[in-house]
């Protein structure tokens, strides 16, 4: 009997070996140069440690040596998918500190540009999310449409991704005379493609099986982690800065704050985060339509500014709702034309910090989907 017992003891000690796997920095679906150190038990993820900084460009240090307008091109390069939205909180903060009011026409153009860019960002987010799940075709449908949005933005600013279009006190240039009609045309195409992708991908049985009940993020955890944007709203919490603290002229528009409802699975899963982005594209289309109807046809696009933009000794945390969430710039002025301190509250950076929390216990294929549903851009994470 005793012998048998020892044998059982020995047998119970047999344990599977955990494997440590490096996902990235070069990997098809880390959306950039992110390295995830993953501990695997078979296929099941037991630990995720994100390592970042591969794209660190010393943005904050660099800006301390730049004048205020010179910072804008660097801000473009943070979240290079939605540069217009990046510039906005920064120029808004500088304008507040200088006490400038921008002309109404500028506000309308800013809203339209930012919303167009938001659609382009969400198109990439949904498209790459589908790609992570193995569906290649919707990806190209979205890229076809995104091209038309980029054409409008390019016509206005001269750049396809990095615009440098929102300037302190106004815009770099006025829009093209056919701008309104082009926007209305592109909205039609966006809606058609969204309807097609909803049928092809979003309500596909396999896609629902893959994304529902995966990576569940409860709302209280999301708030504690400081998540914002579709990641927080996907958990059913309607926090949208455009509605919660309306900046610029967002109080003039009628739009819904899209939240996840747990329609096909648990509230706060990957599918919910994705459907929030789909819904926000439609809401952005609505905002653009209203803005185009209200927008004055003529007017100045640049407020009179002093020759050198100086900010007195003061500080502000200027926030705006970027496609990825709550993007903030903490600007500290010191009386010169260069910032004393410029801190970016990078949305992707904070949203990414929730990844190790919500990906434990799922499979490695799910980990990729969870990462895709958070929608990070490494330019913003690493700064």
């Amino acid at each position: 009997m005793a012998e048998k017992k020892t044998f059982e003891m020995e047998y119970s000690k047999v344990d599977t070996e955990r494997m440590r796997l490096n996902v990235g920095p070069q990997h098809p679906s880390t959306h950039g140069v992110l390295r995830l150190e993953v501990e695997l038990d078979g296929e099941i993820v037991t630990e995720v440690v994100p390592h970042m900084g591969y794209l660190h460009r010393c943005f904050e240090k660099h800006c301390e040596a730049m004048t205020y307008p010179q910072c804008i091109p660097y801000i473009d390069r943070l979240d290079y998918i939605s540069s217009m939205n990046n510039e906005w909180p920064y120029v808004m903060g500088v304008e507040k500190l200088m006490g400038i009011e921008v002309p109404e026409r500028v506000e309308y153009i800013r809203v339209i540009m930012a919303e167009l860019n938001r659609i382009a960002n969400h198109q990439i987010a949904v498209a790459t999310f589908g790609l992570d799940a193995g569906a290649f075709t919707p990806f190209l449908y979205y890229f076809r449409d995104r091209e038309e949005i980029l054409a409008i933005l390019e016509k206005a600013s001269g750049g396809r991704l990095l615009y440098n279009y929102f300037w302190v006190g106004g815009l770099a240039a006025d829009v093209h005379p056919t701008f309104k009609q082009e926007c209305l045309d592109v909205i039609k195409h966006i809606r058609a493609t969204n309807a097609e992708v909803t049928n092809l991908l979003i309500y596909n049985k396999i896609f629902i099986d893959r994304t529902a009940n995966v990576g569940i993020l409860p709302a209280d955890v999301a708030i504690n982690f400081g998540c914002s944007g579709p990641v927080l709203r996907g958990s059913g919490f309607p926090l949208d800065l455009r509605r919660a603290e309306p900046y610029s002229i967002y109080d003039r528009f009628d739009f819904n704050v899209v939240v996840g409802k747990g329609e096909v699975g648990t509230l706060g899963d990957c599918w919910d985060r994705n459907i929030v982005r789909m819904g926000e594209m439609e809401e952005s289309c609505k905002i653009i339509e209203q803005a185009i109807a209200q927008m004055p046809d003529t007017g100045d696009v640049q407020e009179k500014l002093p020759k050198k933009i100086r900010i007195p000794k003061s500080e502000i945390l200027s926030r705006a709702e970027s496609p990825k969430g709550d993007l903030g710039f903490y600007i500290v002025g010191n009386g010169t034309d260069k910032p004393e301190r410029l801190r970016c509250r990078a949305t992707s950076f904070i949203n990414l910090s929730v990844l190790p929390e919500i990906s434990k216990g799922y499979m490695i294929a799910d980990l990729i989907l969870i990462l895709g549903s958070i929608d990070i851009v490494l330019g913003e994470v690493d700064r």
Partner: protein
Amino acid sequence: METNIFIQLLGNNWIAYTAIAVLPLGFLLLYALVAILAELKVSAWMQDRLGPMRTGPWGILQPLAEVVKLLQKEDITPDLANKVLYNLAPYMMFTGAYAAVAVIPFSQQFVPSNINLGLFYIFAVSAIATIGVVMGGWASNNKYSLLGAMRSVAQIISYEIPAAMAILATAVLASSLNLNEINTVQDGGIFNWFIFGGPGPWFKVFVLPFTFGLCLIYMIASLAETNRTPFDIPEGESELVAGYHTEYGGMKFAMFFLGEYVNMFIVSAIMATIFFGGWQSPFGSSIMSGPVWGLFWFLAKVGTVVFFQIWLRWTLPRLRVDQLMDLGWKYLLPMSFICFFAIALWKMLI
């Protein structure tokens, strides 16, 4: 009747056998080029783009250019790989796929080897390709490859069973394991194919749902066996980079690639043979029938099935590994048992 035109023409000698062996090889290489082009073009048209347009008119030389590119690549063997296994794996995979061609009836007059255990033979040799996958994944000494190989084995073992049930049911219907024999039984037009229950009186409609279901089961299982979307998890690009062939490059990768396309051909050919009448004309044995027409019908049927596989690949997302196992063991396997049982019962009663 002698079913091989080369033995009829050249006599029973080594020249004839060489021709019989070499002809399918040439055919498969040509087929692979066409299939790659089809994959490129079909995917392009589905995604509202043009696809390759620069190499040759309408880009038809693109697969050739890709083969040339792969040939020029440096032949790399990783330092810590198991060198023998690593270098053997791609050829193993191709050999397994190619060996299966031996029993496929291309036409009445051209069955490379008309053996009586054709169906069993195909199942036996197509499993060799799995060994190639495992060898490649293990020997690469790469964690992604290892995961891909493990997934591949699990997947192929799980889906071999429903596929085998589907095939055995047709063997029951035809009372033969000889593929050419199975083909001959389905004579007499489209409604005598095994997808429609095979030849029989009008009340074969009762067995029709089962044969139709078996055809679907075999279709799904064959997608899984060839690692095509939605079952391409062994090489699931977004999670495992390239799965079992992550470390391979150049000609060795080309062999894996070729093996995959040949595998596609094999499963499509089996499907065409056992469910769609193989070389039988859809209008009965009097219209558009004969050895050359037989080859045409066979290739047309195989091409349709291959197109269907490509179509699915560019439409569906990928399953997860546990969902794949669920589908295989919890749904396909019981369903295939039920269908098999129903067909066996019908065969006994009739």
